[in-house]
């Protein structure tokens, strides 16, 4: 059901990410997403970055719709439906890994578990949520591709170091699919369970249209979070996605 909500406050998270906060009493679990509609423009999927009675989405501006969302002000209205999908199923000692705006999907899990955390970004001013994260967990590691802050390299390299030192039962992550692909490889080698949140082009969001499938799995229904057992079987994961017409394209 489309629910009109009013933007209560806005927080700039980084050079290209803002969070929009709104009151909405729907029940949501960490890792779930909503379809966000800007009337007259478009409807796009967004992870919930806060899941209490006050909720938020955190948007990276990459195209027309996300740029428009960046221009919205307090008191403006958007419409949301959801929450949809299956989120994270935390179990044991968890290491969270968030790459870029993928951190948005990880925030509710971080707040509810206080788990150890790796945040990756391309450069310092694209790091998101860092100071808020420190409120919820003691162990936060940072990586930047250009080395402007923290570990110089990508989040998966940093994860390998962290995993060598600590002991964890699972890794939970969201970020660019290449990162997730290598992260999954690394976990498989270690025999470590991982749960990864994927993205695909979404139209219906409710498991009908099939536009978001990876192999036969619907990212909006069976996902967006998939576990190791499922990921191992996915031939398209890390390799192919589908365009709007349903054609397979290389990632």
């Amino acid at each position: 059901m489309n629910e009109p909500v009013m933007i209560k406050r806005i927080r700039r998270e980084s050079s290209d990410v803002v969070s929009l906060f709104f009151d909405w009493d729907a029940e949501a679990a960490p890792g779930q997403f909503v379809m966000v509609c800007i009337p007259g423009l478009d409807e796009v999927p967004m992870s919930l970055s806060t899941i209490g009675p006050e909720k938020s989405i955190s948007i990276k501006a990459i195209g027309e719709t996300t740029r428009f969302l960046h221009t919205m002000g307090e008191g403006d209205r958007i419409s949301v439906r959801g929450p949809y999908g299956r989120g994270f199923r935390p179990d044991g000692r968890i290491l969270i890994v968030g790459g870029g705006v993928g951190m948005a999907a990880m925030m509710p899990l971080l707040r509810s578990t206080g788990a150890d955390l790796i945040i990756g970004a391309r450069k310092e001013d694209e790091l998101v949520f860092l100071s808020e994260c420190r409120e919820y967990t003691k162990n936060v590691w940072v990586s930047t591709d250009d080395g402007s802050v923290g570990f110089h390299g990508n989040a998966v390299q940093l994860m390998n170091q962290v995993l060598d030192e600590g002991s964890y039962d699972m890794v939970a992550a969201c970020g660019p699919e290449v990162m997730l692909y290598y992260l999954h490889q690394a976990c498989m080698e270690r025999g470590l369970e991982c749960q990864l949140s994927l993205e695909r082009f979404m139209k219906c969001g409710v498991g009908l249209c099939g536009s978001c499938v990876v192999d036969g799995q619907r990212v909006c229904a069976e996902g967006p979070v998939f576990d190791s057992a499922t990921l191992e079987k996915l031939k398209e994961f890390g390799k192919f996605k589908r365009d709007v017409a349903g054609r397979r394209v290389r990632l």
Binding site: D42, K203, C204, G207, V213
Partner: protein, 302 residues
């Protein structure tokens, strides 16, 4: 022995349930998954000659009792779809190729391609209510329908099904046209032309403004349509519209359907809906002494 097996104009299925066109049937792997979930056959998303993006988002409105969609027939085009068909057919999926076109010639061409790719039957989409120049715009004219079905029948050997729109008072005439042209079965119903408006934004929610209503809300209309068609046709009828439980499926069969399709329920009930419907129907048939779907077809007319 109670059995769910059916034979719809020569198409033999392990059970009478099919995945309705447009729901989780655009890729080879999706079709495999649906077949593994217990469907007797899978109808593909409606495929056209050229790739088509369909309408922009929002393409779906979720309601308490159904959905309104305006996908706008997105599809990769018949050429690219070959790859998906190959995956599905190789895995043993019984695929019914749904096609749409704007003239007889293209319908025949597409049907031929589907047959070549291994489709066990073709379904002509004469009923999509929200794509201009296609679907329902042609499907309300008995003469046009007759010409299209006849042309496709000349081009393929597999059974030809025609999917009809309920958005007309001429449903029975259209059904007759299909039968007269040699069509092997009719499929009823496609979605009802519908709209939702957002008070706050003072505009239709869907990008395309209009869309098609599906799900539980349309079941009573679909059952009526099948009942009406059964009273005038000799060819089999495949029922679709709002089927969510075995009771719904039995309503359609008793109204006159030889098989049925499930679409929206895959969204709100999940893919296990096929197993649930078939199990429930089998138990009902045992309790009430129906030994086959055929025995149960049309009994509400007696």
């Amino acid at each position: 022995m109670t059995s769910l097996k059916v034979n719809v104009s020569g198409l033999r299925l392990k059970n009478p349930s099919m995945v309705a066109s447009g729901i989780m049937d655009e890729t080879g792997d999706s079709m495999i998954k649906m077949m593994e979930s217990g469907a007797g056959a899978v109808v593909t998303k409606s495929i056209g000659l050229e790739p088509k993006d369909g309408h922009g988002n929002p393409t779906l409105v979720e309601l308490d009792y159904g959905y309104i969609n305006a996908m706008g027939l997105p599809n990769p085009g018949i050429d690219a779809f070959g790859e998906e068909m190959e995956v599905a057919v190789r895995a043993g999926v019984t695929v019914i190729g749904s096609i749409f076109a704007s003239c007889e010639g293209d319908f025949s061409l597409l049907a031929g391609r589907m047959e070549d790719m291994g489709a066990a039957a073709v379904e002509l989409n004469l009923s999509c209510p929200h794509a201009s120049g296609y679907g329902m715009e042609m499907g309300i004219d008995p003469v046009v329908v007759k010409a299209i079905v006849a042309s496709v029948k000349d081009s393929v050997r597999v059974p030809v099904f025609a999917k009809l729109t309920p958005n007309t008072h001429r449903l029975m005439d259209i059904g007759n046209s299909v039968q007269e042209a040699g069509g092997d079965a009719v499929v009823a119903i496609n979605t009802l032309k519908a709209m939702a408006i957002s008070p706050e934004s003072a505009r239709p929610i869907l990008r395309n403004r209009f869309g098609g209503l599906s799900g539980p809300a349309v079941k009573p209309v679909g059952v009526r349509a099948v009942f009406d068609l059964y009273s005038v046709l000799d060819i089999p009828i495949i029922g679709v519209g709002g089927i969510t439980s075995w009771r719904d499926a039995v309503e359609y069969i008793m109204a006159g359907a030889s098989a049925f399709q499930v679409g929206s329920a895959i969204g709100h009930k999940g893919v296990q809906v096929f197993g649930e419907i078939c199990d429930g129907m089998l138990a009902f048939m045992r309790d009430y002494g129906y030994s086959s779907i055929h025995d149960m077809t049309g009994v509400a007319h007696e």
